[in-house]
Amino acid sequence: MEVKSGRSLFLNLLPLILTLMLFAAGIFFTILQSFCITGLSYKYPSPFYAYQALFGDGWFFKSWMFSMYTAFVSAAAATAAGAVLSWWIWNLPAGIRPYAFMQRIFLVLPHIAVAYIIIILLGRTGVISSMLYQAGLIRDYKSFPALVFTGSGIDVITGYFLKETPFVMVLVLGILAKLDPRIIETAEMLGAGKLTVFFRLGVPFIMPVLNTSFIILFIYSFGAFDLPYVLGDSYPGMLAIRVYEYYFQRGLYYRPVAMAMLSLIFIFSICFVAIYSRLVAKLDSDVRKI
Protein backbone atom coordinates (compact mmCIF):
# COMPACT_ATOMS: atom_id res chain seq x y z
CA MET A 1 0.00 0.00 0.00
CA GLU A 2 1.32 3.41 -0.90
CA VAL A 3 1.84 6.11 1.63
CA LYS A 4 -0.76 8.73 0.83
CA SER A 5 0.30 12.19 1.73
CA GLY A 6 -1.36 15.52 1.28
CA ARG A 7 1.58 16.57 -0.84
CA SER A 8 1.06 13.88 -3.46
CA LEU A 9 -2.63 14.73 -3.55
CA PHE A 10 -1.78 18.37 -4.17
CA LEU A 11 0.73 17.47 -6.89
CA ASN A 12 -1.75 15.20 -8.63
CA LEU A 13 -4.47 17.83 -8.53
CA LEU A 14 -2.07 20.57 -9.60
CA PRO A 15 -2.95 20.57 -13.32
CA LEU A 16 -6.58 21.29 -12.49
CA ILE A 17 -5.72 23.79 -9.76
CA LEU A 18 -3.74 25.78 -12.34
CA THR A 19 -6.64 25.50 -14.80
CA LEU A 20 -9.08 26.71 -12.20
CA MET A 21 -6.76 29.66 -11.49
CA LEU A 22 -6.94 30.64 -15.16
CA PHE A 23 -10.74 30.39 -14.93
CA ALA A 24 -10.79 32.55 -11.79
CA ALA A 25 -8.40 35.06 -13.36
CA GLY A 26 -10.72 35.28 -16.37
CA ILE A 27 -13.70 36.05 -14.14
CA PHE A 28 -11.58 38.52 -12.14
CA PHE A 29 -10.56 40.50 -15.22
CA THR A 30 -14.11 40.48 -16.55
CA ILE A 31 -15.37 41.98 -13.29
CA LEU A 32 -12.42 44.38 -13.05
CA GLN A 33 -13.12 45.73 -16.53
CA SER A 34 -16.80 46.07 -15.69
CA PHE A 35 -15.69 48.73 -13.18
CA CYS A 36 -14.03 50.65 -16.00
CA ILE A 37 -10.50 49.51 -15.15
CA THR A 38 -9.53 48.55 -18.67
CA GLY A 39 -5.88 49.54 -18.92
CA LEU A 40 -6.89 51.92 -21.68
CA SER A 41 -6.82 55.69 -21.48
CA TYR A 42 -10.55 56.31 -21.60
CA LYS A 43 -12.04 58.51 -18.89
CA TYR A 44 -15.33 57.38 -17.36
CA PRO A 45 -17.60 59.56 -15.21
CA SER A 46 -17.56 56.96 -12.42
CA PRO A 47 -16.33 53.39 -11.83
CA PHE A 48 -19.99 52.33 -11.87
CA TYR A 49 -20.54 53.89 -15.27
CA ALA A 50 -21.16 50.54 -17.01
CA TYR A 51 -23.72 49.38 -14.45
CA GLN A 52 -25.49 52.73 -14.49
CA ALA A 53 -25.64 52.57 -18.27
CA LEU A 54 -27.14 49.07 -18.10
CA PHE A 55 -29.70 49.76 -15.44
CA GLY A 56 -30.79 52.94 -17.19
CA ASP A 57 -31.37 50.97 -20.37
CA GLY A 58 -34.81 49.38 -20.76
CA TRP A 59 -33.50 47.26 -23.60
CA PHE A 60 -31.08 45.47 -21.27
CA PHE A 61 -33.88 44.55 -18.89
CA LYS A 62 -36.10 43.28 -21.73
CA SER A 63 -33.22 41.32 -23.19
CA TRP A 64 -32.54 39.76 -19.79
CA MET A 65 -36.17 38.70 -19.35
CA PHE A 66 -36.30 37.42 -22.93
CA SER A 67 -33.19 35.29 -22.36
CA MET A 68 -34.67 33.91 -19.13
CA TYR A 69 -37.89 33.09 -20.97
CA THR A 70 -36.33 31.32 -23.97
CA ALA A 71 -33.82 29.49 -21.75
CA PHE A 72 -36.53 28.37 -19.36
CA VAL A 73 -38.98 27.17 -22.01
CA SER A 74 -36.35 25.38 -24.12
CA ALA A 75 -34.65 23.74 -21.13
CA ALA A 76 -37.94 22.64 -19.56
CA ALA A 77 -39.31 21.30 -22.86
CA ALA A 78 -36.06 19.50 -23.72
CA THR A 79 -35.89 17.94 -20.25
CA ALA A 80 -39.50 16.75 -20.44
CA ALA A 81 -39.17 15.44 -24.00
CA GLY A 82 -35.84 13.79 -23.17
CA ALA A 83 -37.44 12.03 -20.21
CA VAL A 84 -40.46 10.78 -22.19
CA LEU A 85 -38.44 9.63 -25.22
CA SER A 86 -35.84 7.88 -23.06
CA TRP A 87 -38.61 6.11 -21.18
CA TRP A 88 -40.12 5.02 -24.46
CA ILE A 89 -36.76 3.70 -25.73
CA TRP A 90 -36.02 1.96 -22.43
CA ASN A 91 -39.37 0.14 -22.65
CA LEU A 92 -38.70 -1.14 -26.18
CA PRO A 93 -37.73 -4.81 -26.48
CA ALA A 94 -33.97 -5.12 -25.87
CA GLY A 95 -33.31 -6.24 -29.45
CA ILE A 96 -34.96 -3.18 -30.98
CA ARG A 97 -33.63 -0.57 -28.54
CA PRO A 98 -30.31 0.08 -30.34
CA TYR A 99 -32.18 0.95 -33.54
CA ALA A 100 -33.82 4.06 -32.08
CA PHE A 101 -30.74 6.19 -32.45
CA MET A 102 -31.41 8.97 -34.95
CA GLN A 103 -31.66 11.65 -32.24
CA ARG A 104 -27.85 11.51 -32.14
CA ILE A 105 -27.72 13.59 -35.32
CA PHE A 106 -28.41 16.59 -33.13
CA LEU A 107 -25.69 15.66 -30.67
CA VAL A 108 -23.16 15.83 -33.48
CA LEU A 109 -24.46 18.92 -35.31
CA PRO A 110 -22.94 22.15 -33.97
CA HIS A 111 -25.21 24.90 -32.66
CA ILE A 112 -24.60 27.04 -35.72
CA ALA A 113 -25.69 24.16 -37.97
CA VAL A 114 -28.85 23.56 -35.91
CA ALA A 115 -29.63 27.27 -36.23
CA TYR A 116 -29.27 27.00 -40.00
CA ILE A 117 -31.64 24.02 -40.01
CA ILE A 118 -34.15 26.12 -38.06
CA ILE A 119 -33.93 28.80 -40.75
CA ILE A 120 -34.65 26.36 -43.57
CA LEU A 121 -37.42 24.62 -41.61
CA LEU A 122 -39.21 27.53 -39.96
CA GLY A 123 -38.56 30.35 -42.42
CA ARG A 124 -41.55 31.85 -44.19
CA THR A 125 -40.56 30.10 -47.40
CA GLY A 126 -39.17 27.15 -45.49
CA VAL A 127 -40.00 23.47 -45.51
CA ILE A 128 -42.81 23.61 -42.96
CA SER A 129 -44.42 26.54 -44.72
CA SER A 130 -44.25 24.57 -48.00
CA MET A 131 -45.86 21.56 -46.37
CA LEU A 132 -48.69 23.65 -44.93
CA TYR A 133 -49.23 25.25 -48.34
CA GLN A 134 -49.37 21.88 -50.10
CA ALA A 135 -51.77 20.63 -47.47
CA GLY A 136 -53.95 23.64 -48.26
CA LEU A 137 -53.70 25.07 -44.75
CA ILE A 138 -52.17 28.40 -45.78
CA ARG A 139 -52.81 30.46 -48.89
CA ASP A 140 -49.26 31.68 -49.50
CA TYR A 141 -46.01 32.21 -47.60
CA LYS A 142 -47.31 35.52 -46.30
CA SER A 143 -49.90 33.78 -44.18
CA PHE A 144 -47.16 31.75 -42.49
CA PRO A 145 -46.08 33.57 -39.32
CA ALA A 146 -42.63 35.19 -39.41
CA LEU A 147 -40.79 33.03 -36.86
CA VAL A 148 -37.16 33.60 -37.88
CA PHE A 149 -35.35 36.96 -37.72
CA THR A 150 -38.05 38.38 -35.48
CA GLY A 151 -38.31 38.77 -31.74
CA SER A 152 -40.74 35.93 -31.08
CA GLY A 153 -38.10 33.63 -29.64
CA ILE A 154 -39.76 30.55 -31.16
CA ASP A 155 -36.79 29.98 -33.45
CA VAL A 156 -34.28 30.10 -30.58
CA ILE A 157 -36.47 27.89 -28.40
CA THR A 158 -36.99 25.31 -31.17
CA GLY A 159 -33.27 25.31 -31.95
CA TYR A 160 -32.23 24.70 -28.36
CA PHE A 161 -35.01 22.17 -27.93
CA LEU A 162 -33.76 20.10 -30.87
CA LYS A 163 -30.12 20.37 -29.83
CA GLU A 164 -30.74 19.66 -26.14
CA THR A 165 -33.32 16.85 -26.12
CA PRO A 166 -30.77 14.23 -27.28
CA PHE A 167 -28.35 15.51 -24.63
CA VAL A 168 -30.96 14.86 -21.92
CA MET A 169 -31.56 11.43 -23.45
CA VAL A 170 -27.88 10.49 -23.10
CA LEU A 171 -28.01 11.29 -19.39
CA VAL A 172 -31.43 9.73 -18.73
CA LEU A 173 -30.71 6.52 -20.68
CA GLY A 174 -27.47 6.25 -18.72
CA ILE A 175 -29.32 6.25 -15.41
CA LEU A 176 -32.20 4.08 -16.70
CA ALA A 177 -29.66 1.34 -17.45
CA LYS A 178 -29.50 0.94 -13.67
CA LEU A 179 -33.28 0.58 -13.18
CA ASP A 180 -34.35 -2.99 -12.53
CA PRO A 181 -37.14 -3.88 -15.02
CA ARG A 182 -38.63 -6.28 -12.47
CA ILE A 183 -39.82 -3.28 -10.45
CA ILE A 184 -41.91 -2.24 -13.45
CA GLU A 185 -43.20 -5.76 -13.97
CA THR A 186 -44.21 -5.96 -10.32
CA ALA A 187 -46.07 -2.66 -10.54
CA GLU A 188 -47.87 -3.79 -13.69
CA MET A 189 -48.82 -7.10 -12.11
CA LEU A 190 -50.28 -5.18 -9.22
CA GLY A 191 -52.43 -3.31 -11.69
CA ALA A 192 -50.58 -0.07 -12.34
CA GLY A 193 -51.31 1.53 -15.70
CA LYS A 194 -48.62 2.80 -18.07
CA LEU A 195 -48.99 6.41 -16.98
CA THR A 196 -48.90 5.49 -13.31
CA VAL A 197 -45.73 3.46 -13.85
CA PHE A 198 -44.10 6.37 -15.65
CA PHE A 199 -45.07 9.08 -13.19
CA ARG A 200 -44.80 7.10 -9.95
CA LEU A 201 -41.77 4.92 -10.73
CA GLY A 202 -39.92 6.24 -13.77
CA VAL A 203 -39.97 9.96 -13.06
CA PRO A 204 -38.87 9.71 -9.39
CA PHE A 205 -36.04 7.39 -10.44
CA ILE A 206 -34.67 9.75 -13.10
CA MET A 207 -35.51 12.98 -11.24
CA PRO A 208 -31.94 13.72 -10.06
CA VAL A 209 -30.69 13.53 -13.65
CA LEU A 210 -33.59 15.68 -14.87
CA ASN A 211 -32.70 18.35 -12.31
CA THR A 212 -29.05 18.31 -13.34
CA SER A 213 -29.93 18.52 -17.04
CA PHE A 214 -32.35 21.36 -16.48
CA ILE A 215 -29.71 23.41 -14.61
CA ILE A 216 -27.05 22.78 -17.26
CA LEU A 217 -29.38 23.54 -20.18
CA PHE A 218 -31.00 26.59 -18.64
CA ILE A 219 -27.70 28.28 -17.88
CA TYR A 220 -26.22 27.28 -21.22
CA SER A 221 -29.10 28.65 -23.29
CA PHE A 222 -29.26 31.73 -21.10
CA GLY A 223 -25.71 32.78 -21.90
CA ALA A 224 -24.75 31.11 -25.17
CA PHE A 225 -23.98 32.98 -28.35
CA ASP A 226 -23.64 30.70 -31.38
CA LEU A 227 -27.24 29.70 -32.03
CA PRO A 228 -29.00 33.07 -31.55
CA TYR A 229 -26.25 34.78 -33.54
CA VAL A 230 -27.06 32.75 -36.67
CA LEU A 231 -30.79 33.26 -36.15
CA GLY A 232 -30.18 36.97 -35.91
CA ASP A 233 -33.20 38.02 -33.85
CA SER A 234 -33.12 41.74 -33.39
CA TYR A 235 -35.38 42.93 -30.59
CA PRO A 236 -35.21 42.31 -27.69
CA GLY A 237 -32.65 39.63 -28.60
CA MET A 238 -30.64 37.30 -26.41
CA LEU A 239 -28.21 38.75 -23.87
CA ALA A 240 -25.18 37.18 -25.53
CA ILE A 241 -25.96 39.12 -28.70
CA ARG A 242 -26.15 42.37 -26.75
CA VAL A 243 -22.80 41.54 -25.12
CA TYR A 244 -21.32 40.93 -28.56
CA GLU A 245 -22.56 44.30 -29.81
CA TYR A 246 -21.03 46.16 -26.90
CA TYR A 247 -17.84 44.12 -27.04
CA PHE A 248 -17.04 44.29 -30.73
CA GLN A 249 -19.25 46.76 -32.53
CA ARG A 250 -19.52 49.88 -30.41
CA GLY A 251 -15.88 50.73 -29.89
CA LEU A 252 -13.54 50.10 -27.00
CA TYR A 253 -15.06 52.84 -24.87
CA TYR A 254 -18.18 50.71 -24.34
CA ARG A 255 -16.35 47.51 -23.47
CA PRO A 256 -17.01 47.91 -19.71
CA VAL A 257 -20.74 47.71 -20.48
CA ALA A 258 -20.22 44.30 -22.11
CA MET A 259 -18.11 43.25 -19.14
CA ALA A 260 -20.81 44.40 -16.71
CA MET A 261 -23.38 42.26 -18.52
CA LEU A 262 -21.04 39.28 -18.38
CA SER A 263 -20.39 39.86 -14.67
CA LEU A 264 -24.13 39.91 -14.02
CA ILE A 265 -24.59 36.74 -16.11
CA PHE A 266 -21.85 35.07 -14.07
CA ILE A 267 -23.33 36.08 -10.72
CA PHE A 268 -26.80 35.07 -11.86
CA SER A 269 -25.55 31.62 -12.95
CA ILE A 270 -23.89 30.98 -9.59
CA CYS A 271 -27.01 32.09 -7.69
CA PHE A 272 -29.27 30.02 -9.92
CA VAL A 273 -27.25 26.84 -9.35
CA ALA A 274 -27.12 27.48 -5.59
CA ILE A 275 -30.83 28.25 -5.19
CA TYR A 276 -32.01 25.50 -7.50
CA SER A 277 -29.92 22.78 -5.84
CA ARG A 278 -31.03 24.02 -2.40
CA LEU A 279 -34.69 23.85 -3.49
CA VAL A 280 -34.28 20.39 -4.95
CA ALA A 281 -32.56 19.15 -1.78
CA LYS A 282 -35.43 20.53 0.29
CA LEU A 283 -38.10 18.96 -1.93
CA ASP A 284 -36.21 15.67 -1.81
CA SER A 285 -36.16 15.58 1.95
CA ASP A 286 -39.93 16.21 2.02
CA VAL A 287 -40.70 13.30 -0.31
CA ARG A 288 -40.68 9.77 1.02
CA LYS A 289 -38.06 7.64 -0.73
CA ILE A 290 -39.19 4.47 -2.47
Binding site: F23, F29, L109, P110, I120, L121, M131, Y133, V230, M259
Partner: protein, 263 residues
Protein backbone atom coordinates in the same frame (compact mmCIF):
# COMPACT_ATOMS: atom_id res chain seq x y z
CA UNK B 1 -47.58 -5.92 -31.61
CA UNK B 2 -44.00 -6.34 -32.74
CA UNK B 3 -44.81 -4.80 -36.10
CA UNK B 4 -46.33 -1.77 -34.38
CA UNK B 5 -43.20 -1.28 -32.29
CA UNK B 6 -40.94 -1.53 -35.33
CA UNK B 7 -43.14 0.96 -37.14
CA UNK B 8 -42.91 3.45 -34.28
CA UNK B 9 -39.10 3.14 -34.21
CA UNK B 10 -38.97 3.82 -37.95
CA UNK B 11 -41.16 6.92 -37.56
CA UNK B 12 -39.01 8.08 -34.64
CA UNK B 13 -35.83 7.79 -36.70
CA UNK B 14 -37.41 9.47 -39.72
CA UNK B 15 -38.52 12.45 -37.65
CA UNK B 16 -35.03 13.06 -36.31
CA UNK B 17 -33.49 12.39 -39.71
CA UNK B 18 -35.81 14.84 -41.47
CA UNK B 19 -33.47 17.83 -41.13
CA UNK B 20 -30.60 15.80 -42.57
CA UNK B 21 -32.82 14.79 -45.48
CA UNK B 22 -33.68 18.44 -46.09
CA UNK B 23 -29.95 19.25 -46.10
CA UNK B 24 -29.38 16.42 -48.60
CA UNK B 25 -32.13 17.77 -50.89
CA UNK B 26 -30.59 21.22 -50.82
CA UNK B 27 -27.12 19.80 -51.34
CA UNK B 28 -28.21 18.06 -54.52
CA UNK B 29 -30.44 20.76 -55.88
CA UNK B 30 -29.88 24.43 -56.44
CA UNK B 31 -33.46 24.66 -57.77
CA UNK B 32 -35.56 23.96 -54.68
CA UNK B 33 -38.11 26.73 -54.53
CA UNK B 34 -41.09 27.49 -52.36
CA UNK B 35 -43.62 25.85 -52.23
CA UNK B 36 -42.25 22.57 -53.64
CA UNK B 37 -41.94 19.80 -51.09
CA UNK B 38 -39.39 18.01 -53.20
CA UNK B 39 -36.94 19.82 -55.48
CA UNK B 40 -38.07 20.07 -59.14
CA UNK B 41 -34.73 18.77 -60.34
CA UNK B 42 -31.49 17.58 -58.84
CA UNK B 43 -28.05 18.78 -59.81
CA UNK B 44 -24.47 18.74 -58.68
CA UNK B 45 -24.23 22.40 -57.66
CA UNK B 46 -23.32 21.53 -54.07
CA UNK B 47 -20.62 19.10 -55.07
CA UNK B 48 -19.12 21.36 -57.72
CA UNK B 49 -19.13 24.15 -55.15
CA UNK B 50 -17.09 21.97 -52.82
CA UNK B 51 -14.58 21.03 -55.47
CA UNK B 52 -14.25 24.69 -56.43
CA UNK B 53 -13.78 25.82 -52.85
CA UNK B 54 -11.69 22.83 -51.91
CA UNK B 55 -8.74 24.84 -50.62
CA UNK B 56 -10.76 26.98 -48.23
CA UNK B 57 -12.68 23.98 -46.93
CA UNK B 58 -9.53 21.92 -46.42
CA UNK B 59 -7.86 24.82 -44.61
CA UNK B 60 -10.84 25.24 -42.29
CA UNK B 61 -11.18 21.52 -41.63
CA UNK B 62 -7.43 21.16 -41.10
CA UNK B 63 -7.40 24.02 -38.61
CA UNK B 64 -10.41 22.65 -36.74
CA UNK B 65 -8.91 19.15 -36.62
CA UNK B 66 -5.61 20.51 -35.36
CA UNK B 67 -6.96 22.52 -32.45
CA UNK B 68 -9.65 19.93 -31.59
CA UNK B 69 -7.11 17.10 -31.38
CA UNK B 70 -4.73 19.29 -29.36
CA UNK B 71 -7.63 20.08 -27.04
CA UNK B 72 -8.36 16.37 -26.60
CA UNK B 73 -4.68 15.70 -25.80
CA UNK B 74 -4.38 18.63 -23.41
CA UNK B 75 -7.59 17.84 -21.52
CA UNK B 76 -6.38 14.25 -21.12
CA UNK B 77 -3.04 15.39 -19.68
CA UNK B 78 -4.85 17.87 -17.42
CA UNK B 79 -7.30 15.40 -15.97
CA UNK B 80 -5.72 11.94 -15.86
CA UNK B 81 -3.99 12.33 -12.47
CA UNK B 82 -6.79 14.34 -10.82
CA UNK B 83 -9.30 11.74 -12.07
CA UNK B 84 -7.35 8.94 -10.40
CA UNK B 85 -7.43 10.88 -7.14
CA UNK B 86 -11.15 11.60 -7.35
CA UNK B 87 -11.94 7.98 -8.16
CA UNK B 88 -9.88 6.42 -5.41
CA UNK B 89 -9.19 8.66 -2.52
CA UNK B 90 -11.41 10.47 -0.10
CA UNK B 91 -10.12 13.73 1.23
CA UNK B 92 -11.59 16.76 2.98
CA UNK B 93 -13.76 19.02 0.82
CA UNK B 94 -13.77 16.44 -1.98
CA UNK B 95 -17.33 17.28 -3.07
CA UNK B 96 -16.61 20.98 -3.06
CA UNK B 97 -13.44 20.41 -5.11
CA UNK B 98 -15.33 18.27 -7.61
CA UNK B 99 -18.03 20.90 -7.94
CA UNK B 100 -15.44 23.64 -8.46
CA UNK B 101 -13.56 21.62 -11.04
CA UNK B 102 -16.72 20.97 -13.03
CA UNK B 103 -17.88 24.60 -12.94
CA UNK B 104 -16.19 25.85 -16.16
CA UNK B 105 -18.57 23.64 -18.13
CA UNK B 106 -21.56 25.16 -16.36
CA UNK B 107 -20.85 28.91 -16.31
CA UNK B 108 -21.56 30.69 -19.63
CA UNK B 109 -18.18 30.65 -21.34
CA UNK B 110 -18.37 34.24 -22.58
CA UNK B 111 -18.18 35.45 -18.95
CA UNK B 112 -14.68 34.15 -18.30
CA UNK B 113 -13.47 34.04 -21.91
CA UNK B 114 -13.73 37.84 -22.15
CA UNK B 115 -11.45 38.26 -19.14
CA UNK B 116 -9.10 35.56 -20.37
CA UNK B 117 -8.79 37.27 -23.73
CA UNK B 118 -7.51 40.30 -21.82
CA UNK B 119 -4.84 38.11 -20.19
CA UNK B 120 -3.94 36.41 -23.47
CA UNK B 121 -3.45 39.78 -25.17
CA UNK B 122 -1.12 40.85 -22.36
CA UNK B 123 0.99 37.70 -22.57
CA UNK B 124 0.87 37.60 -26.36
CA UNK B 125 -1.02 34.40 -27.12
CA UNK B 126 -4.25 35.91 -28.40
CA UNK B 127 -4.91 35.26 -32.11
CA UNK B 128 -2.96 32.00 -31.90
CA UNK B 129 -3.75 28.30 -31.95
CA UNK B 130 -2.27 28.08 -28.43
CA UNK B 131 -4.87 30.52 -27.15
CA UNK B 132 -7.69 28.68 -28.92
CA UNK B 133 -6.57 25.30 -27.52
CA UNK B 134 -6.28 26.72 -24.00
CA UNK B 135 -9.75 28.26 -23.96
CA UNK B 136 -11.36 25.20 -25.57
CA UNK B 137 -9.63 22.97 -23.01
CA UNK B 138 -10.93 25.15 -20.24
CA UNK B 139 -14.56 24.73 -21.31
CA UNK B 140 -14.33 21.04 -22.20
CA UNK B 141 -12.02 19.37 -19.65
CA UNK B 142 -14.89 18.68 -17.20
CA UNK B 143 -16.26 16.09 -19.67
CA UNK B 144 -12.88 14.35 -19.80
CA UNK B 145 -12.60 14.53 -16.01
CA UNK B 146 -16.02 12.91 -15.58
CA UNK B 147 -15.27 10.14 -18.08
CA UNK B 148 -11.83 9.34 -16.66
CA UNK B 149 -13.06 9.39 -13.05
CA UNK B 150 -15.76 6.88 -13.99
CA UNK B 151 -13.14 4.82 -15.83
CA UNK B 152 -10.74 4.73 -12.87
CA UNK B 153 -13.63 3.75 -10.61
CA UNK B 154 -14.54 0.90 -12.95
CA UNK B 155 -11.04 -0.62 -13.14
CA UNK B 156 -10.45 -0.29 -9.39
CA UNK B 157 -7.03 -0.31 -7.72
CA UNK B 158 -6.21 -4.03 -8.02
CA UNK B 159 -4.27 -3.95 -11.29
CA UNK B 160 -2.21 -0.99 -10.18
CA UNK B 161 -1.34 -2.60 -6.87
CA UNK B 162 -0.33 -5.82 -8.64
CA UNK B 163 1.97 -3.89 -10.93
CA UNK B 164 3.51 -1.98 -8.04
CA UNK B 165 3.97 -5.21 -6.06
CA UNK B 166 5.73 -6.76 -9.01
CA UNK B 167 8.20 -3.91 -8.91
CA UNK B 168 6.96 -1.49 -11.55
CA UNK B 169 7.36 2.21 -10.93
CA UNK B 170 4.29 4.44 -10.58
CA UNK B 171 4.75 5.97 -14.00
CA UNK B 172 5.14 2.56 -15.65
CA UNK B 173 2.05 1.32 -13.82
CA UNK B 174 0.09 4.32 -15.10
CA UNK B 175 1.36 4.14 -18.68
CA UNK B 176 1.54 0.38 -19.22
CA UNK B 177 -1.25 -0.93 -17.00
CA UNK B 178 -3.87 1.68 -16.22
CA UNK B 179 -4.05 3.76 -19.39
CA UNK B 180 -4.55 0.72 -21.65
CA UNK B 181 -7.39 -0.37 -19.35
CA UNK B 182 -8.83 3.13 -19.51
CA UNK B 183 -9.12 3.21 -23.32
CA UNK B 184 -12.94 2.94 -23.43
CA UNK B 185 -13.28 5.79 -20.90
CA UNK B 186 -10.69 7.86 -22.76
CA UNK B 187 -12.61 7.39 -26.01
CA UNK B 188 -15.92 8.43 -24.52
CA UNK B 189 -14.35 11.52 -22.91
CA UNK B 190 -12.37 12.32 -26.04
CA UNK B 191 -15.46 12.10 -28.27
CA UNK B 192 -17.31 14.70 -26.23
CA UNK B 193 -14.28 17.00 -25.94
CA UNK B 194 -13.62 16.70 -29.67
CA UNK B 195 -17.24 17.51 -30.50
CA UNK B 196 -17.29 20.53 -28.19
CA UNK B 197 -14.05 21.88 -29.66
CA UNK B 198 -14.91 21.07 -33.29
CA UNK B 199 -18.38 22.65 -33.04
CA UNK B 200 -17.48 25.85 -31.23
CA UNK B 201 -17.77 29.06 -33.15
CA UNK B 202 -17.60 32.02 -30.77
CA UNK B 203 -14.61 31.06 -28.61
CA UNK B 204 -12.50 30.24 -31.65
CA UNK B 205 -13.50 33.53 -33.21
CA UNK B 206 -12.72 35.42 -29.98
CA UNK B 207 -9.36 33.83 -29.23
CA UNK B 208 -8.29 33.06 -32.79
CA UNK B 209 -9.25 36.48 -34.04
CA UNK B 210 -9.64 35.25 -37.61
CA UNK B 211 -6.01 34.18 -37.90
CA UNK B 212 -6.68 30.64 -36.69
CA UNK B 213 -8.46 28.81 -39.51
CA UNK B 214 -11.56 26.90 -38.43
CA UNK B 215 -14.35 25.10 -40.22
CA UNK B 216 -17.04 26.77 -38.12
CA UNK B 217 -15.58 30.16 -39.03
CA UNK B 218 -15.42 29.15 -42.69
CA UNK B 219 -19.00 27.90 -42.70
CA UNK B 220 -20.48 30.83 -40.83
CA UNK B 221 -20.86 33.42 -43.62
CA UNK B 222 -22.59 30.84 -45.84
CA UNK B 223 -25.34 30.17 -43.31
CA UNK B 224 -27.03 33.49 -43.99
CA UNK B 225 -26.24 33.59 -47.70
CA UNK B 226 -28.77 32.94 -50.42
CA UNK B 227 -26.85 29.92 -51.73
CA UNK B 228 -28.61 27.29 -49.66
CA UNK B 229 -27.21 24.50 -51.76
CA UNK B 230 -23.64 25.44 -50.78
CA UNK B 231 -24.54 26.09 -47.13
CA UNK B 232 -26.34 22.76 -46.83
CA UNK B 233 -23.49 20.81 -48.40
CA UNK B 234 -21.03 22.44 -46.02
CA UNK B 235 -23.32 21.72 -43.05
CA UNK B 236 -23.54 18.07 -44.09
CA UNK B 237 -19.74 17.90 -43.91
CA UNK B 238 -20.06 19.08 -40.31
CA UNK B 239 -22.30 16.11 -39.64
CA UNK B 240 -20.40 13.47 -41.59
CA UNK B 241 -16.84 14.09 -40.41
CA UNK B 242 -17.36 13.45 -36.67
CA UNK B 243 -19.48 10.37 -37.47
CA UNK B 244 -16.72 8.98 -39.69
CA UNK B 245 -14.16 9.78 -37.03
CA UNK B 246 -16.13 8.00 -34.30
CA UNK B 247 -16.71 4.97 -36.53
CA UNK B 248 -12.99 4.87 -37.32
CA UNK B 249 -11.96 5.07 -33.64
CA UNK B 250 -14.47 2.39 -32.67
CA UNK B 251 -13.20 0.14 -35.45
CA UNK B 252 -9.54 0.64 -34.54
CA UNK B 253 -10.12 -0.02 -30.86
CA UNK B 254 -12.19 -3.11 -31.58
CA UNK B 255 -9.44 -4.43 -33.86
CA UNK B 256 -6.71 -3.86 -31.29
CA UNK B 257 -8.83 -5.63 -28.66
CA UNK B 258 -9.38 -8.55 -31.01
CA UNK B 259 -5.63 -8.75 -31.67
CA UNK B 260 -5.03 -9.05 -27.95
CA UNK B 261 -7.85 -11.55 -27.66
CA UNK B 262 -9.83 -9.33 -25.35
CA UNK B 263 -13.12 -9.42 -27.15
Amino acid sequence: MKRRILFSVVIYNLLFALPAVVLLFYAFSSMWRYPDIIPRRFDMHGLSFISGEFQGIARGLGGSFLYSLCTVALTFIMTVLPASEFARRSFPFKHLAEGLFLSPALIPSMAFAAGIQFIFIKIGISDSTTGVVLILSLVSYPYMLRALTAGFQAIGTGYRECALNLGSGRLTALLRVEIPLLVPAIISGASVVFLVAFSEYFLVFLMGGGSVPSYSGYLFPFLNSSDRSAASTLTLIFLIIPILLFALTDGLVLRSYRKKGLS
